[in-house]
């Protein structure tokens, strides 16, 4: 009997080993995580192009469609005698500079679909950060054209996203007065935890009603720099001071009431 057991075990190991071997001898492709770019306002065009190329061929997965030219236009070779994208992006839509055209292509891909292709591209803002998108644009411009993306484009977006010196449109993110919807629509959960979910840049909303009065909550929303919560000194200044302009009075009071009741 032991001989049968041995034969069965060896057969099993041989079959498993064969499949493992096959999987090892084919090309080894790993799906990368998009790298966090550390480019700032002083980033050179070369650095942007280099970062964009890594994103284009790696985590951005752009080449899966744009590399073949069957599912989406081949941006590097052009195909059909069109030439690479950098040489023609400024002429795709009359009056739209290359940089703007490419930005729109990545963030609103359905706005202009090249004839002969389907509208299959997703909004890349769901996959990549804005500075990663700008880096990809710089790389695409470099394909036969002039790179006009600069570090200033990244800095401008940084200022907008962090509530810095750039003017922010004082319009409500949502018309709703549902506090949970307001917290979600205004990105509060990105920095504050609620029911165990969310970031840890600001104090947790869980139990905040027991720690702060409604007046303190109101002040923290309208003037976040007035008093920084204990233990969060290193994040001081990160919360936008624009909610007084973004919220309607009813929305502000709904959020304050909701937070005050979280005990």
């Amino acid at each position: 009997m032991w001989r049968t057991n041995l034969k069965v075990a060896l057969l099993g190991l041989a079959v498993i080993g064969f499949y493992t071997l096959i999987a090892h001898i084919i090309p080894q492709l790993e799906s990368e995580v998009p790298e966090v770019l550390t480019l700032g306002a002083d980033a050179s065009p070369e650095a942007l192009v280099e970062a964009g190329e890594r994103m284009y061929n790696g985590a951005g997965a752009c080449s899966a469609c744009h590399g073949l030219g069957t599912r989406a236009p081949n941006l590097l070779t052009g195909g059909g005698g069109l030439g690479p994208i950098g040489s023609r992006c400024g002429e795709r839509v009359a009056g739209t500079p290359c940089k703007d055209y490419l930005y729109e292509s990545m963030t609103e891909p359905g706005a202009y679909v090249v004839a002969g292709f389907e509208n299959i591209m997703p909004d890349m803002r769901r996959q990549l950060s804005i500075d990663q998108i700008w880096a990809v644009i710089a790389f695409l411009q470099a394909q036969g054209g002039e790179v006009t993306v600069t570090g200033a484009d990244l800095a401008q977006d940084a200022a907008v996203s962090s509530g810095g010196s750039m003017p922010v449109a004082a319009t409500p993110a949502t018309a709703s007065t549902d506090p949970q919807e307001l917290l979600a629509a205004n990105g509060c959960i990105g920095c504050h935890q609620l029911a165990g979910s969310g970031g840890a840049v600001g104090p947790s909303f869980d139990g905040i009603g027991g720690r702060m009065t409604p007046a303190q909550l109101r002040q923290s929303i309208l003037d976040p720099g007035a008093e920084v919560a204990e233990g969060y000194d290193q994040f001081a200044g990160m919360m936008p001071a624009t909610f007084g302009e973004q919220f309607t009075a009813a929305q502000l009071e709904a959020v304050v009431k909701f937070l005050a009741e979280l005990r």
Partner: protein, 564 residues
């Protein structure tokens, strides 16, 4: 400023979100627990399907052989259930301790369904115990039908349990369109989250795959018992059991690719980028490995049938055809395993003169692959038909016409498959995709039509001699082992494909994986994990089989006279 904010945010997001596991890391630990749990779950969901069918055949045909077979299937389940629950518990603990933020999100979205899941698991377990331990008590008359109803109920509970869990995992792949990274979990409607884009395709695919998997494991069990049998009667019983298990595995396996097409189509419908990642992106080579495995399955299944025909009087007349069928299977296997497009560097593209290989390009396209796989299905069906007809001599007056119609249906189906395979090279991609539907429809129509005609042709047929069950060469049983191991490995591979297309997302475009192991590994590394899972699962299954034999021997051993 943005750099600092991004880094701080990433660090804050990750703080407390992940635990660590020694040696293999958190992902490795969850991978193994999830995969082995899933393999056992597939077994305990698949086996009851044909336990209840074979019991029904036994009742209707009044043949105790089927009843015995059904009970033997069920005995394996009793042990396998404990293993399923243990691995499920381990998976839950690992998710809670290693991925608390992710699991917290899932629990807040799916909480009530998790309670229902646990409750149904209890009910399912008790139904199984009643079903198995009540076998000899409720064995006649209306009580037997009541017993059979318990088996049916067992399948119902199991299917609901699987559908609930499928809701969780498909939500991770295809969350409802309105759900974004900013959406609070409490704002996601429970039913909306469960009934997502890929839920029903996965339900159908897994339901069929479980039957395939269960059948192959039962056949492997029978093969082992056949090899260790000491009497001719035992060998005959386990030979027959192996045949039934294999028949169920292969006959359900034949329809599995169609469920796969449906799932693939829904993935593309949900998100083109995800679909392209799966079929043409970094996972494109996975399908070559899949083709290798499925080719082995077709070859092993046909080989088992052809060897089995040696114990059937009258089968000699079909033997000359098998070498041509083998040739066709091998050619189709090679075509199916031919790569087409791949991610290539600029230098590689230049070397090939484009994105496709100048020669392999012709064989590597879907037109050729669809043609190959459909011809393999037709060939395997023909093997079954030959096996079935081997010892029968039709007596109906129209037998010759019936056989000719069957032959014509085969020829027509093969003609349609080849025609659209060639025509596909001359039309646009969007038109070509539609051709696969015609090919599949032709093959399915042939299978159904020929089966129905054959049932009538062989009604009242004379026997050329009884099948000599037990007179099977030992090498045939190793084919059954190869089938079971390959199905298990294939399940691990497809699990990696389904999970891997989410890439660095816990929940696609809703919750990022910000852990150190967020990158989706290449196939080599994934294969190592799959093989490890398969070895663990098969080792445990071997232990369960051994336990089953031990329990049986304890029952059969007579009590010593006079007692202790």
């Amino acid at each position: 400023m943005i750099d600092a904010l991004t880094l701080v945010q990433a660090a804050a997001d990750t703080t407390g979100a992940y635990g660590s596991f020694p040696g293999i890391g958190a992902r490795g630990a969850v991978w193994i627990a999830a995969q082995v749990h899933l393999m056992f779950a597939a077994f305990v969901l698949g086996v009851p399907m044909f336990a209840v069918i074979t019991e029904l055949i036994g009742i209707v045909a009044k043949d105790s052989k089927y009843d015995k077979l059904s009970k033997e299937f069920t005995r394996l389940l009793v042990f396998a259930y404990s293993a399923t629950a243990l691995w499920g518990g381990l998976l839950l603990f690992l998710l809670t301790t290693l991925y608390p933020r992710f699991w917290g999100h899932m629990a807040r979205v799916f909480g009530p369904s998790m309670w229902l899941y646990a409750g149904l698991f209890f009910v399912e377990s008790f139904t199984l115990y009643l079903y198995y331990y009540g076998w000899d008590r409720w064995k006649a008359g209306r009580a037997k039908w009541g017993h059979w109803a318990l088996g049916l109920l067992l399948n119902v509970w199991g299917t609901i349990v699987m559908f609930i869990a499928n809701g969780w995992l498909t939500y991770m792949m295809s969350p409802p369109s309105g759900v974004t990274a900013e959406t609070l979990p409490e704002q996601v409607g429970l039913w909306n989250a469960i009934a997502n884009a890929t839920w029903m395709p996965i339900n159908i695919h897994r339901l069929i795959a479980n039957a395939v998997f269960g059948g192959s494991i039962v056949a492997a069990y029978a093969a082992y018992r056949f090899l260790s049998a000491r009497t001719a009667e035992e060998r005959a019983h386990y030979d027959w059991m192996g045949y039934v298990g294999n028949f169920i595995a292969i006959s359900t396996f034949i329809v599995l690719p169609f469920a796969g097409y449906y799932l693939g189509r829904e993935i593309y419908e949900f998100n083109q980028q995800m679909g392209i990642t799966m079929m043409g992106g970094f996972m494109s080579w996975l399908w070559i490995v899949q083709a290798v495995l499925i080719g082995v399955l077709f070859l092993a299944a046909n080989y088992y049938l052809w060897i089995g025909m040696a114990r059937i009087p009258g089968a000699e007349r079909f033997r000359p055809y098998t070498k041509w069928m083998l040739l066709l299977l091998v050619v189709c296997w090679i075509v199916w395993g031919t790569p087409h497009t791949m991610i290539a560097s600029r230098a590689e593209l230049a070397a090939m003169g484009g994105s496709h290989h100048p020669f392999l390009n012709i064989l590597g396209v879907m037109s050729a692959k669809n043609t190959a796989v459909n011809l393999m299905i037709l060939t395997t069906f023909l093997s079954f038909l030959m096996y079935r007809r081997a010892n029968k001599r039709p007596t109906v007056a129209w037998a010759k016409s019936g056989s000719m119609i069957e032959g014509a249906m085969f020829a027509l189906a093969a003609g349609v498959v080849v025609f659209y395979g060639i025509y596909g090279y001359f039309v646009e991609a969007i038109v070509r995709i539609g051709f696969s539907v015609y090919q599949v429809a032709a093959v399915l129509a042939c299978i159904i039509g020929v089966t129905v005609i054959d049932l009538f042709v062989l009604r009242g047929a004379e026997s050329r001699g009884e099948i000599r069950w037990g007179e099977m060469p030992e090498r045939s049983q190793y084919a059954l082992f190869v089938l079971a191991i390959t199905f298990t490995w294939l399940m691990g591979l497809m699990g990696f494909a389904r999970s891997g297309i989410r890439q660095h997302w816990h929940v696609w475009e809703v919750m990022r994986d910000t852990s150190a192991q967020a990158a989706t590994p290449a196939l080599g590394a994934a294969a190592n994990m799959i093989s490890l899972c398969v070895v663990i699962f098969l080792a445990l299954v071997a232990f369960i089989f051994w336990l089953g034999g031990l329990a049986e021997r304890a029952v059969q051993r007579p009590e010593p006279a006079g007692g202790a």
